[in-house]
């Protein structure tokens, strides 16, 4: 019982700490120039995406390469809710999550007939199929390469829904529109810092739900699947419905993330469903730490920060950074490092990924654990000295650590 109470207390403290850091994001990121709304929103949105992905990959070990499909589904559904119903984001988000869940169930039902690399390839195939369909037969829904976006309410019924919206709920409520329609949450605009705080609150809720799932009986079954699925079958547990449920939950998280992308910037394009987007969330999760609660959010943050900041750097900025060097050396250093910024930012990301996977297989969270261990060591040594020799167990096996 003591164990359970301690864990509940630790989880509560973790949640409070996480919420405080997320809500204080604009202040924390100010020194590194990351406190503008667009980046802050993306950090939260991709944090949600990564948390959901980790429920599948981190807990069950099933690696999906098709989660970007649910981002696309969420974005398109949100746009259609804006076009047909209302610019209020609440129904848009709700419909997006439900539709992503239905999609995830269908894709999961088929893909989860296989495991390992075959499962990954099946999910990748489904996502690429969605991407290709969005550019071809589904053009009347997705608006193809142009992308789907909100328009003014159409005055003529013969105008295509792609070029003119109807927003029946807004019209019924007599909402007046001036210029480009903007998204809102019961009047609160979803752009700028209010948009960030809306995403931040949803990120905290998603984190809390992931915490509950991880600590639950259901979460333990998912961990048992990852650990030894064959043994679990002989224990009387049918792994498939657990896997499908985990797949659907992670698909719903991705649907929410896709919806929020459209909420903060009401345009949806098929590129969100491309395989690179699916690969990106895998990178985020591994960078941060697979199977941990905080790791995927950290990975998402690092990835998006690098994308937004490093890709915007140019030789001028690099000259400023290395201005302390003698001119001849500075030119050489800038010439070399310029390969890794601007359009070459992917090389930075690739290098970062390689370094972390080689030296920190458990991601950034493992790095933090190692640093903590260095500080704890002197303490442990002191307490060990105070213990009697008879209590020492040099061959004591390792002890299970809960995911932080």
């Amino acid at each position: 019982m003591e164990n359970s109470k301690n864990q509940t207390r630790n989880d509560f403290l973790l949640l409070i700490g996480f919420a405080a850091v997320v809500l204080a994001g604009p202040i924390i990121l100010e020194p590194i120039g990351g406190n503008y709304p667009d980046l802050l929103q993306k950090l939260c949105i991709y944090g949600i995406f990564a948390i959901g992905f980790n429920i599948l990959f981190g807990l069950t070990g099933y690696l999906s390469f098709g989660h970007a499909a649910f981002i696309g589904v969420g974005s398109y559904m949100t746009l259609w809710s804006f076009k047909l119903l209302t610019m209020n984001v609440l129904p848009a988000i709700a419909f997006s999550i439900v539709l992503a869940a239905i999609f995830a169930y269908c894709i999961g039902y088929v893909s989860l007939r296989r495991s390992g690399i075959y499962f990954s390839i099946l999910t990748l195939a489904f996502a690429q199929m969605c991407y290709a369909l969005a550019y071809s037969v589904l053009t009347p829904i997705t608006n193809g390469e142009t992308g789907l976006q909100t328009r003014a309410i159409r005055s003529d019924a013969s105008t295509s829904l792609l070029d003119g919206d109807i927003r029946v709920i807004d019209q019924a409520l007599g909402v007046q529109e001036f210029g480009v329609p903007t998204t809102h949450f019961f009047g609160i605009p979803m752009s700028g810092y209010t948009g960030f705080y809306f995403c931040a609150v949803l990120l905290i809720i998603c984190f809390f739900l992931a915490q509950l799932i991880t600590r639950s009986n259901f979460g333990m079954m998912l961990k048992a699947i990852k650990s030894n699925q064959n043994r679990l079958n002989y224990t009387g547990v049918y792994a498939r419905p657990y896997l499908i449920t985990a797949f659907v939950i992670s698909g719903m998280y991705a649907g929410l993330a896709g919806s929020l992308l459209a909420v903060t910037d009401p345009i949806a394009g098929a590129e969100r469903m491309q395989w690179t987007a699916s690969g990106e969330v895998v990178l985020m999760t591994i960078l941060g730490g697979v199977g941990t609660l905080v790791g995927p959010v950290l990975g998402a943050g690092l990835n998006k920060y690098a994308e937004q900041k490093v890709s915007s750097w140019n030789e001028g900025i690099l000259h400023n950074i290395f201005s302390f060097l003698p001119d001849s050396i500075e030119d050489g250093v800038v010439g070399f490092t310029s390969l890794f910024v601007g359009e070459g930012w992917h090389m930075t990301l690739g290098l970062m990924f390689m370094v972390i996977v080689i030296f920190l297989p458990g991601g950034l969270m493992e790095g933090f654990r190692r640093i903590l261990a260095i500080f704890r060591k002197p303490k442990d040594n002191q307490s060990a000295q105070s213990n009697t020799v008879s209590n020492s167990k040099p061959d004591e096996p390792s002890v299970a650590q809960p995911a932080e």
Partner: protein, 271 residues
């Protein structure tokens, strides 16, 4: 032989400590791999409360028979029936939910989970069935199951290792852990595949004592074992498998004196 869904009650007979029901029945099972007959015409009856040992030399088909029993392998012919339910064609999790637990020859545990979690998972499966969606029920809040798991582990000598990651256990401890995973489900039929393999003599004797205690509680046990000390300490009846066929069946004393058994299995070994 035609397979029936239920066993005829008339077929039951008095056995052991007065338990009359034939609870487990292997009916004309045949299994071959690429033309090699691993099992041929195997018929076996196990009675409720009985401890039935299956012995035989290496390659006799013992583990294949156990794999057929738990749904890991499908027989080419014949059927396995437990408590009126045909097990053949069922998934392993369905067979377990009917009350059949298996302990593997090579320890099969959840290596990334703690010892306590390893035992709590099958206990939850027993209580909740093969699937139950409870994403908000805290695993460590399951006080009754946790206490029972601790009690079971303590009875097997793993009381000091609740929080240890099971991958770091010794082979003998893993075997005891696996036994605990089976016992916590209170199965009606416990299938043990060499439960003392890899154990020191002291641990083997402790396991025999434990299994005797389980036997006293009325659990039906089928045990595959090489160690004759274990077999003759526990078995009410013994079946001898050689070349995929049952060559002898009977009480331990009958098996000891059976010349076929001596020839096929025991050889020069002193029984």
């Amino acid at each position: 032989m035609a397979v029936t869904e239920t066993i005829n009650a008339d077929e039951s007979r008095e056995f052991g400590r007065g338990t009359p029901n034939k609870v487990f029945h292997i009916d004309d099972v045949h299994k071959s791999f690429a033309g090699l007959h691993a099992l041929a015409d195997v018929d076996l009856d196990v009675y409720e409360g009985e401890t039935h040992a299956i012995i035989g030399p290496n390659g006799a088909g013992k583990s294949t028979l156990l794999n057929v029993c738990v749904g890991r392998l499908a027989p080419d012919r014949g059927a396995v029936v437990f408590d009126g339910h045909v097990l053949t064609g069922r998934q392993p999790h369905e067979i377990n939910q009917l009350g059949v637990a298996r302990v593997f020859q090579t320890p099969e545990v959840f290596p990334d989970l703690s010892v306590l979690e390893n035992v709590m998972v099958p206990a939850l499966s027993k209580r909740d069935g093969h699937f139950r969606l409870n994403p908000f029920k805290n695993f460590f809040g399951e006080k009754i199951i946790r206490d029972e798991a601790k009690e079971t582990l303590a009875s097997l000598g793993l009381g000091e290792q609740f929080d240890v990651v099971s991958s770091s256990l010794s082979r003998g401890d893993k075997r005891r852990l696996e036994l605990a995973m089976g016992l916590i489900q209170h199965p009606r039929l416990l299938l043990l595949d060499e439960p003392t393999a890899g154990m020191a003599r002291h641990d083997t004797n402790a396991t025999i004592d434990l299994l005797k205690q389980i036997k006293e509680d009325g659990m039906t046990i089928v045990i595959i074992e090489h160690d004759m000390h274990v077999v003759f300490s526990l078995a009410d009846r013994i079946s001898v498998l050689a070349g995929g066929r049952i060559i002898a069946q009977g009480l331990p004393d009958e098996i000891k004196g059976n010349p076929k058994v001596k020839e096929a299995y025991l050889g020069e070994e002193q029984v």
